[in-house]
Amino acid sequence: MRASIALRSSRMLPLATIVLIPTPAAAHLNSTGLGPVYDGVAHFLTSPEDLPAVLALALWAGARGASYGRRALFVLPSAWLLGSLLGMTAVPTAGGAVLSAIWLMALGALLATDLALSLRGATALAALLGLQRGYLNGSGIEQSASGIAALFGLGGVVFVVVAIAASSVVRLRAAWARVAVRVIGSWIAASGLLVLGWSLRTHA
């Protein structure tokens, strides 16, 4: 039993290291002039690293069925909010393009292949995405009442995006429509591949 736990821990260690590796932060909120909640909403909707990843997960969950969609709807925004509150108290960090590319490739491929994961696996994936991306969002936001309001705006818009995306595909039955949704996944994965190449060129 202990050996099994140790083996699992050793497998998870590289992943945890990559996820938590600190790099210089470039995140900040742009002012919309409508208050901190809307600043948080605008931050998410104009973040090209976050929106496609959330869309991919929500579309995949919706395509897998109502139970998966509901699970993503509640787990992802909650984890996002929790992660961002944790991130707010931490040293400012940024995810880096490589990690964003890996998320896009993984979630895009998940949607494109319509991979069948267990409900528990889908929950873990939504929680991991929410915690990691939320942590990065939160680490770039100052600790203040308006900062916390912005985080609630962020969590709220994640909830709305997941609700719209998942519910729009959960009832799709036409084969061409389901394939069209999977094509979006292939585009997201292909974008991730290109970003990975771009990052490797930059670091070379």
Binding site: P48, E49, P52, S186, G192, L194, G197
Partner: protein
């Protein structure tokens, strides 16, 4: 005269800024695949051929092309050399155009492998030409979306295949793509 003077003095809003940052990145990426007619011919040919072959090729070929093209683009970005890129691109237009002209019906795996093989050349060419200073993710998304839309355009034109009078038209379009490919091959060799 008075009207002319007034019109001359009306201040116009300045749009002198070069598109940069996020908007510039997405739009540059969107424009890149459609800026080269050799790329456009091959990508539309993939859609036309998919439409002729019907399901599941109609979805699989445009599915395979952007994915493999992104791998080629990644190799190009990383500086991995690939010989004969221009020949590969011209050959892709010739062979894919010929497949449309003769309504070739190879096994699905062979068709996907052919499309995937040539996608590497297209992706590599794009990868080495990507301009610096753009938002990588938005540029890549624009680039992939434009490629997908070119395939969709090919599929939309390929709908003609369901009518008897449309089939010869598609074959003529295929012959046009072959001629375009021959022209680009001639230009690459010269």
């Amino acid at each position: 005269m008075r009207v002319s003077l007034i019109l001359l003095l009306v201040p116009a809003a300045a749009f002198a800024h070069v598109g940069s940052g996020e908007t510039g990145g997405f739009l540059t990426g969107l424009r890149h695949p459609i800026s080269g007619p050799d790329h456009v011919l091959a990508m539309v040919a993939v859609g036309l051929w998919g439409a002729q072959l019907g399901s599941p090729a109609i979805w699989l070929l445009p599915f395979a092309f952007p994915m493999v093209m992104a791998v080629g683009g990644m190799l190009g970005l990383m500086g991995v050399p690939l010989p004969g890129i221009e020949y590969g691109i011209a050959t892709s237009a010739i062979l894919l155009g010929a497949a449309v002209t003769f309504e070739a019906r190879p096994p699905l795996g062979v068709a996907a492998a052919l499309v995937g093989f040539f996608a590497i050349f297209h992706g590599h060419a794009h990868g080495t030409e990507l301009p610096a200073g753009q938002d990588a993710l938005l540029y890549s998304m624009g680039f992939v979306i434009a490629t997908g839309c070119l395939h969709a355009a090919g599929i939309a034109i390929g709908v003609l295949h369901q009518w008897p009078w449309g089939r010869p038209l598609l074959r003529i379009a295929g012959a046009g793509i072959v001629l375009g490919g021959v022209f680009f091959m001639w230009r690459a060799v010269a």
